[in-house]
């Protein structure tokens, strides 16, 4: 099961993140998870939101450059070794993690090489969210 992540190109200037999140807030879009990358002049904001297509449309109208990417959102038990168990499984099957970040509750969002193989592998072993389930979180 895969989830669609919304990625946004942002220039690194003060207040920019606030502006973007304000726009989404005004439109009633509840951010369920996010991460940012940093560079001197620009960065990438990654978002897990209900209805990413609509969110993309909204940001596009505001003139922002966006991208949709497939990721996997996995439920990880809140206990020592919980995250390691998932990572071990991926490592065993030589599926590399491009990046990962935690989203709301005990879920971790993974961008993976060979995502389809990863989904097959994780199916039944861990809890994975669908787009609809992300919306319902």
């Amino acid at each position: 099961m895969k989830v669609t992540q919304l990625t946004v190109f942002l220039e690194n200037r003060s207040g920019r993140l606030a502006e973007v999140t304000d726009i989404l807030g005004r439109e009633g879009i509840n951010i369920r998870g996010f991460s940012t990358t940093e560079a001197a002049e620009y960065g990438i904001l990654r978002l897990i939101v209900p209805d990413p297509e609509r969110a993309r449309e909204i940001l596009h109208k505001e003139g922002l450059t966006t991208h949709l990417t497939e990721v996997v959102c996995v439920g990880v038990p809140d206990e020592p070794g919980g995250l390691a168990r998932v990572l071990d499984l991926l490592a065993e099957h030589e599926i590399s993690v491009d990046y990962m970040y935690s989203i709301t509750f005990n879920y971790i969002c993974f961008a993976l090489h060979d995502i389809d193989r990863a989904v097959g592998l994780l199916e039944g072993k861990v809890e994975m969210l669908s787009n609809a389930e992300v919306g319902a979180l």
Partner: protein, 450 residues
Amino acid sequence: MSPAPTRERLTVDGAGGFLWEPAAECLPTPELGELQMARLRATLQLAHDNVPFYRRKLDEAGIDPAGVECHGRAQDLPFTTKIDLRDHYPFGMLALSREEVVTVHCSSGTTGNPVVVGYSRADVSLWAALIARTLAAGGVGPGDMLQNAFGYGLFTGGLGLHHGGELLGCTVLPISGGNTERQLKLMRDFGATAISCTPSYALHLAEGARDRGLRPQDLPLRVGYFGAEPWTNEMRLQIEDGLGIDALDIYGLSEMGGPGVAFECRRKAGMHVNEDHYLAEIVDPETLESVPEGEIGELVITTLSRTAQPLIRYRTRDLCSLTYEPCACGRTLARMTKPVGRSDDMLIIRGVNVFPSQIEEVLMTIPEIEPHYQIVVDRKGHLDVVEVWIEVGEDIFGETMGQLETFERMVQQKLYSVLNIQVKVRLKEPRTIARSEGKAVRVVDRRKLA
């Protein structure tokens, strides 16, 4: 009044356009040289007799206007510069009394006094005829509707194209620049077939059309003449794709009476200089010596027919080359290349001469790059730094920082291979680089502000 022209009565040229004045535009070269010589002598006499500045200059150089012999050349004559025009602000360069001048135009003049140019009634008629030549060469004729999106006012683009379009028998839509929404609406509602504006505004219109879901085939335009700022062949292709037209180049400067000094025929192989009215030379901007045919240097123009304000060997500061090779269109008029830069815009970066047009050419070869960019020059400590600001569109933006960094490096390497200096690429959000509805501001040199 001569009868209104009709499309059928225009002569077709060898490139699929029209000749407005076939005899003049295809005058055999020896006759053209004689005509230029006679007009040069008359111009020198006019300037000598009526403009104190020129009387002094010509007398100092020991030049007798009636005795000038250099066939088609003007190498011994003194130069005129923009500073001379500023020094004689507002009417010191007129060869007629102010009362005989029917209109004036001014250059933008961001520093100091603007440059004022006066027109006699004959000058205005000549101007209209030269624009009619231009539009006709692009295949525009009676019955066409010309959407003139050059700014109207003191800037010469608006009224120049207006006069010429009317003379040619077009229906002129004097919409002036700006208001993209209205431009696109009237264009479609009225069925405009030709357009004139700056090339950056043409791209802006193409972008506006795309944003509104309009395809090139939804626009009635067939041809456009663009000028008043530098543009490249790559920009031409983008305009042609975006608006679904043939994009042609028109050249002029307000000091010479505005657009209409030179124009492209449909071959798009350089701009024909209206040599029967303008004597064009190319000189080395440093030594001021003539350069061989085909070599790039500064364009110097002497007016041959203007009566209100004749100018002798005016230094345009535009860098280009001239060719006298025959053109398939049948015109005998020499052709100039698009200006590759300005002799006074040349940036010296850490001792290396850089023309903004070189940077533009590189950027235009990278299809992902939007046509809006800016070159920013600054001094950090004692070091000049050049940044190229590029907007990140969906074509550039992938998923990871790595993709953006790879793109930055690719552009930097391409720029380095052409310029031999390190240029920093700066990625910006879409529509954060200022759009202009007049001349695009491509270069911001912050070194001068420090």
